[in-house]
Amino acid sequence: MDISGPNSVAVRTENVCRHYQMGEALVRAVDGISVDVRAGEFVALLGASGSGKSSLLNLVAGLDRPTSGAVIVHENNLAELSREQLAKYRLHTVGMVFQSFNLIPRMSLLENVELPMRFAEVDRRERSALARQSLERVGLSGRLSHRPMELSGGEQQRASLARALINRPKLLLADEPTGNLDSRTGTEIMELIRSFNQSLGMTVLMVTHEEALAEKYASRMLHLADGKLVNDLSNDGVRGISSEPMQAPGPGGKTQ
């Protein structure tokens, strides 16, 4: 897996803004956030509803483009990528899990996990083996031909994790991954995410509004309010790859 060294910057936002026009009003969903995330960090994005944490995650995921500022992931400025390049970035560099799992209901788990490999044009036989492996890793080897609706929420989220990791991304983005799960199942999912973060050295950016969950698993917590970064805390209680929060460098600044 091509993960840069532990001190390199995986994600950097430079004064990034995302503003929407809602009728007469201008909504500043993300309003000038500058932050660096090191490779291998487990970062929780915290904040109340509407604080801009999901919008920031979408910008890093390449699902949305900033109104101004820059989002640089592994030295790629996402704002400069074409739609085609952005799709490739989503396919190979990031894996996403969502609160509502977002599995395709009429496909079996195996087919759901295989789907990103179809876009990546992986050979048919190879992708079936890889998808089985990935589902096995999240403990779903007995559920390959089940459809999402036939599974519990926890199982669906695990399948969703298996899909997110199938193309071996450098960055795992999770949007309220435990939001629809009970606390026991939520803990199971968080343990899985932590294991991927630690064993694969994968950078994790997780949106959550559960402070306790963040404190338990994240190595760093970014608090957002009204689209702005209001607090950046390292979590010394968590053994992450990096525990030192980094300040965003000035304009033109690069990774030290």
Partner: protein, 456 residues
């Protein structure tokens, strides 16, 4: 995405809303069916007309005559050697003409007026020799009663309907043309009639005069028994106007009889006959002018009716155009159905499109998927439509033939679905479907994933 995956996902998607997609596909099928049915009738009618005209010999026959024939009024206006120096239209000349590229056959025109006796009553009529090839290429023999000659030299005759009526003493009521051919055939087929004719026999040659004495011949009165084997409704000899024959012999037999023909210049001896005229049948009407030129260069007169098919072809091109436009209207309506179905599918699968984009699908992947769905509907709709159109065409043909039979006309194939029509109808259906898929596919591809994922 690989083509296989695009096709696989598209088929899965189509199967998911099978009822709606089937209705859309039926819409396309009806459109294609109407196009195919219309064009198959247009093509069928065109083929029927050109077959009739070709078999009439009007457009694929060149008549070659010798310029020595003083009765040939055309010779004065034609280029080439003067009549006296023109070569004789004999057997070597016939072989030479038969070898001109494009010529199918060249046969002498043998016809004479003579007396035919049936039931001891004499009837005077024009008798003509018919080449054996006429069995398949003269449509007068298509709907005949009885059969064609058993061989080229058989002592058999076929009669034209009016002569059969004369033999039986039937006078058709004026204004009606409905004497049943089968009723006429019953008392005549298998019977014999006797033809009396004048044979032109070569005179014993005198050695002192040498071989140039070919002009000497004698006339012997003979008779020949002939078996009636067939009756035709249409006139096999329709080209000849007033010189039309009503009794037909196999050409070989007619030649072998050496009947004295009413030709002033027919002075050759029987062992080296010179013909009054030759009918030269050409493979394709387009080749007629070239063959005509070649015959003229050989020093004979030649004439044909060319270019008369051009206006007919033009008429059918216009007819086919109109039929295609009307047929395509239904397909145009069906294409709106495709747009509707796919736009509905985008609304329904909005979230799914969002998910696919979030996990890495490119605009091209999404566009390709919708395109493939449109194309698949076009392909299936086209194939079903061609089958349906073929069936409709057959049905119309069947109904029309029942009608023709009631009107005492021979049956006809007024419907034709050539392979090019099958393939181009399916191809056209796919192209129309893909065009209809253009807008929905690009709309799906442009979908904002953040918006789409929010959609419930």
């Amino acid at each position: 995405m690989k083509l296989y995956d695009v096709a696989d996902l598209a088929i899965r998607n189509l199967r998911e809303s099978v009822f709606r997609n089937s209705l859309t596909t039926i819409g396309i099928s009806v459109g294609v069916a109407s196009l195919v049915a219309m064009l198959s009738l247009g093509i069928g009618l065109q083929q029927l007309a050109s077959r009739r005209l070709q078999k009439s010999g009007l457009f694929d026959t060149v008549v070659a005559t010798s310029r020595r024939d003083l009765r040939n009024f055309r010779e004065q206006r034609e280029e080439g050697p003067p009549p006296a120096e023109s070569p004789s239209l004999d057997e070597p000349a016939r072989n030479k003409i038969a070898q001109i590229p494009g010529v199918v056959e060249a046969y002498p025109d043998i016809r004479f007026v003579t007396e035919v006796r049936f039931d001891d009553k004499p009837h005077l009529t024009m008798v003509a020799g018919i080449p054996f090839s006429a069995r398949s290429n003269n449509d007068a023999f298509d709907g005949m009663q009885g059969s064609f000659f058993s061989s080229d030299g058989a002592a058999e005759v076929t009669l034209q309907k009016s002569f059969a009526e004369e033999l039986l003493g039937i006078t058709p009521k004026p204004g009606t043309d409905n004497t049943n051919l089968a009723d006429l055939a019953k008392p005549l087929l298998g019977k014999e009639l006797t033809m009396r004719y004048a044979e032109r026999a070569s005179a014993p040659s005198s050695p002192s005069l040498g071989p140039s004495n070919s002009a000497a011949y004698s006339v012997v009165s003979r008779q020949q028994a002939l078996k009636i084997v067939g009756l035709t409704d249409l006139d096999p000899d329709s080209l000849r106007g007033t010189a039309r024959a009503r009794v037909f012999l196999p050409l070989k037999l007619a030649q072998d009889l050496h009947v004295m023909q009413p030709n002033l210049r027919d002075t050759s001896a029987s062992d080296s006959p010179s013909y009054t005229s030759l009918s030269v049948r050409v493979q394709n009407p387009n080749q007629v002018p070239a063959v005509e030129d070649a015959i003229k260069k050989m020093g004979f007169s030649a004439f044909s009716i060319v270019d008369a098919t051009r206006s007919m072809r033009q008429f059918f091109a216009v007819l086919d155009g109109f039929l295609a436009i009307f047929g395509s209207l239904a397909l145009a309506v069906a294409s709106i159905g495709i747009v509707n179905t796919l736009v509905m599918a985008i609304l329904e699968r909005r979230r799914e499109i969002g998910i696919m984009k979030a996990i890495g699908a490119s605009d091209a992947d999404v566009r390709g998927l919708f395109f493939a769905e449109a194309g698949a509907m076009g392909l299936v709709g086209g194939a079903v439509g061609v089958t349906l159109g073929w069936a409709i065409g057959r049905l119309i043909n069947f109904g029309m033939n029942i009608y023709l039979e009631r009107q005492h006309f021979p049956s006809a194939q007024i419907w034709s679905v050539p392979m090019w029509l099958v393939l181009s109808a399916i191809g056209f259906s796919i192209v129309v479907s893909l065009l209809s898929g253009l807008y929905p596919a690009s709309r799906a591809a442009r979908l904002d994933p953040v918006q789409a994922l929010r959609y419930e």
